[in-house]
Structures are given as structure tokens and as C-alpha cells.
């Protein structure tokens, strides 16, 4: 049987929230791809850690083995936010009924309830991610929406509906970039400006030394 998420994080199933978070951060320091550039095995390990952590956080982790690790190769950290592969599970008849209720909530703009219902489900397939992306997008949870839309497309690349919601979410970013260019901004030039402005302005303050002490403690 595959390792349980608790084993992956190296904590006991009775560990407190804080202890689990601490263990996760310790592992992230060791394996995060940004701190290990080009290291495929670290990236893979980080995916596994993220999935285990997510599973525990969602309250669905069993202290014993989990089925998830068997399919970790399905997606990699670099291709998207790792969704642990509960997703490969098949929907039962009950699940289909629940997804129908989720759709009904979405149609009547009751996104909050749709999200709650989705979060209560154990099986997460492409349709789950798709509906979650719609509901979260409408609620303004843009990060979750983007990640879940990506996951839906990854699981079923051929589905035009899944692609459409992903594009709809990404359209916000496209609009923003247009807005930036039309206002004469080129991201590359940003670094030069802001810090100089702050420096020249703020250095003038007589109380600067006191302020710096102060600001340090505020930051």
C-alpha cells in the first residue's frame, strides 16, 4: 500500500495543525523547485508533498495508506498545481447526483453553496474541477479558479467547455496586459522607477533614522 500523507510529511496522524504546517514548510525549504532549479526529482518530491499536505488540509486523509501515490506521475509540479489523484477516481451514481445539484446551484448564482457541496465530495474528476473553476471564478477566488480550470483541461484536453472556462479566466490577464501597454508600461522597465522615487522622497524626512527603526519593526 502507498504511503499515507502523514508518512510523506513525516508527522503523526495526531499532530496539531501547527506541527503539520511546520513539517510542510521544512520539506518545502528542502524540495521547492525554485530553490532546486533544474532538479526533476526535487520537483517531483514537492508535488508529492503538496498533494499530501492538501489531502490532510482538506480533512480527507486517512492515517493509513492512500491510493493517491500510485498515480503521481500523471502530472508534475512544473505543469501545474499538483492535484492529488483522487481525481482519477470514478464517479458513483451518488456523485453524479451531487454534481447535478452543484450545476443547479451554479445556474441560480448560488456559488457559495456550490463550492461547499463540491468540497464535500471525495471523488474529483475533470468535471469536478470544471465546476469548481466556474464557481470559484464567480466568487472571485481567482487562484483556485485558475488552478482548477487548468486541472480540468489537463485531465480532459479535448473538452471545449473546459478550455473555454480556462480561457475566460485567463482573459482577465490578457485585458490587464493590454491596459498596461496602452498606458505606456512595459514590465521590464518597472524595476528602475519605483525604488528611486521612494528613496528620493522619503530620504528627505528628518526623522528618518527613527522612522527606519520603526518601519523595520512594522515590516
Amino acid at each position: 500500500m502507498a504511503r499515507s500523507p502523514y508518512e510523506i510529511l513525516g508527522v503523526s496522524p495526531n499532530a496539531s495543525k501547527e506541527e503539520i504546517a511546520k513539517a510542510y514548510r521544512k520539506l518545502a525549504k528542502k524540495y521547492h523547485p525554485d530553490l532546486n532549479p533544474g532538479d526533476e526529482s526535487a520537483a517531483k518530491k514537492m508535488s508529492e508533498i503538496n498533494s499530501a499536505y492538501d489531502e490532510i488540509k482538506s480533512g480527507k486523509a486517512s492515517p493509513y495508506g492512500s491510493s493517491y501515490a500510485s498515480d503521481v506521475s500523471g502530472s508534475s509540479y512544473s505543469s501545474g498545481w499538483e492535484q492529488y489523484d483522487r481525481s482519477r477516481g470514478r464517479y458513483t451514481t451518488d456523485d453524479y447526483a451531487t454534481l447535478d445539484s452543484v450545476r443547479a446551484y451554479i445556474e441560480s448564482d448560488r456559488y457559495d453553496e456550490a463550492i461547499n457541496l463540491l468540497n464535500s465530495m471525495n471523488t474529483r474528476g475533470a468535471e469536478w474541477y470544471y465546476l469548481s473553476a466556474i464557481a470559484n471564478h464567480a466568487e472571485g477566488n481567482l487562484i483556485t479558479a485558475l488552478q482548477h480550470a487548468r486541472e480540468a483541461v489537463r485531465l480532459e484536453p479535448g473538452n471545449p467547455e473546459y478550455r473555454r472556462i480556462l480561457m475566460e479566466i485567463q482573459a482577465g490577464g490578457v485585458q490587464y496586459r493590454t491596459w498596461q501597454t496602452s498606458n505606456g508600461f512595459n514590465p521590464q522597465s518597472a524595476a528602475q522607477c519605483c525604488s528611486t522615487m521612494c528613496m528620493t522622497q522619503m530620504c528627505c524626512m528628518c526623522v528618518q533614522s527613527y522612522a527606519s527603526m520603526f518601519y523595520c519593526c512594522m515590516n
Binding site: L35, L142, N183, C198, M199, C204, C217, M218
Partner: protein, 281 residues
Amino acid sequence: MFGFVTTAPNLLSDQSKTRYRGWYCGLCKSLGRNCGQSCRILLAYDMVFPAMLISSVFKMPEVCQNNRCIVHPFKPHTEIFTAASRYSAEMNVMLSYYKMLDDWQDDKNPAALAAARVYRGKCSALSQKYPRQCNATAQCLRELSELERGGESNPDMPANCFGQLMGEIFVMNDDGSELVHDLRKFGHAFGRFIYIMDAATDLHTDLKRERYNPLVSVPSSQITELLQIMGGEITRIFDRLPVTCDRDIMKNILCAGIWGKYEVKRQGGKRKGKINGEKSI
């Protein structure tokens, strides 16, 4: 979370630069006048933006003065005052106070506690004047530190929490109008963006120090796009607001200035001296 909301001056006309400086100096003066001279050191650039936005949306009458001050004793300069700049100055003090308390509770930083003590009296007066904003700030920061302590893995949760706080700050008087509704939405989206921007900027430091960061589980290659999508949300609401006065300055902040700190960090600390300088202000 301070230090993100500033302009990209190389893209601003001289006239706009003077205006922006005028707002800043007005805010500084308001701090001294309404909250006591000791509060002037709390001044943050970030609070110029809400002052400008609220004044512009409600077309508030402005008082412009040419003055010298203790900070610029030899050079007379313009100071712009409106009801919103006074409000922003007060919000500046309130936010700084709660931030200090928060730092004390989270990191047991004694300097933060000592500083918070200095401003306690001012803040209790403000909490009577602005109960809605103060309660929201206290509650959101409490929830936020709870989420951070528990290591929340969904970045939307803490971002929304901070967004809610900012939403209340951008509403000066809640008269239930459509305009207020839009301002609150704007503040919400703005707060979410700032929170994630801050997290993105600090990601590597937080990883190394094993501190909470909501973006640990998000692949770094996706972070810029994520921020752009969130930026799209802000500008969509901004375009709906009836902003005429100082529109170019606000646009400059929203599309360029706000990226300054992040871009500096992303370009690998080439300008490290500057970053440190900026932080120590």
C-alpha cells in the same frame, strides 16, 4: 504589506508628479494635524492612493496650499487636502497600529509592542470615530493570523481576508449607494492583489526561513500570470468608477507602480541596495 502602492515616476508627466507629491505632502500634514505630530513617521505612500481615489470618485472640494514644512524647510511645495486625505491619514494610523499589535502577537517583537503602546490612545479615539473600519481591520487581521498559523494551503483564503479589510478601508461613509458598493469591490480586489503580490515578493525569503507563504504550493512559473489576472479584476472595476481627476496617476499606480517591488525582486536583487533602502524607510 506597505510599500507596494506607489507610482512609476518615469511614466508620469511633471504635472502629475507635482500633483502626486502634493497629495503625499497633504497626507503628511493631515497626519500631523489630526493625529498628532508623532504619527507623521507612520506615513506610508500606500495611503495616497485611497485618498486620491475617494476624493476623485466623490468629487470632493480640494484645498491647495503652497507651504514649507519641517520635512522640506527650504523648498515651498504644494499640499493638497480633502476630506478623504484626512480620512486616509487616520486610516494610516489605524492600520499601522493594528499591524504593530499583529507583529507583537505573531513574532513577539518587543519593539512592535512598545510602538503599539505609543499609538494606543490615538487608535482608541479612531475606533470610536470609525467603528466599522476598526472592527473589520481587527477581525480580518485576527482571521489572517489564524489562517497563517494553521498553514492554509489555499491562497484565496488569506487573500480574501485581506481583501475584505481593504474593502472597508476604501469605503469612507457607507451610505449603501451603488458607488460605495463598487468602491468596496474595488478595495476587495485591490487588497487581494496586494496580499498575493506581497507573498510573491517574499516567496524565496519565506521558503528559506520556513515561514508561512500562501504561494508555496503554486508553481512559480504561474505567479506572474496569476497576478495579471488579479490585476485585470482591479482595472475592470476601476474603469467602472467615475474617476476623472488624477486618473492618469491612478492608472500609473495600478498598471506600473504597483509592480515595482516585485520586479526588483524578480530581477534577482541586482539593485539590492535599493531594496534594502526602501525597506528601511
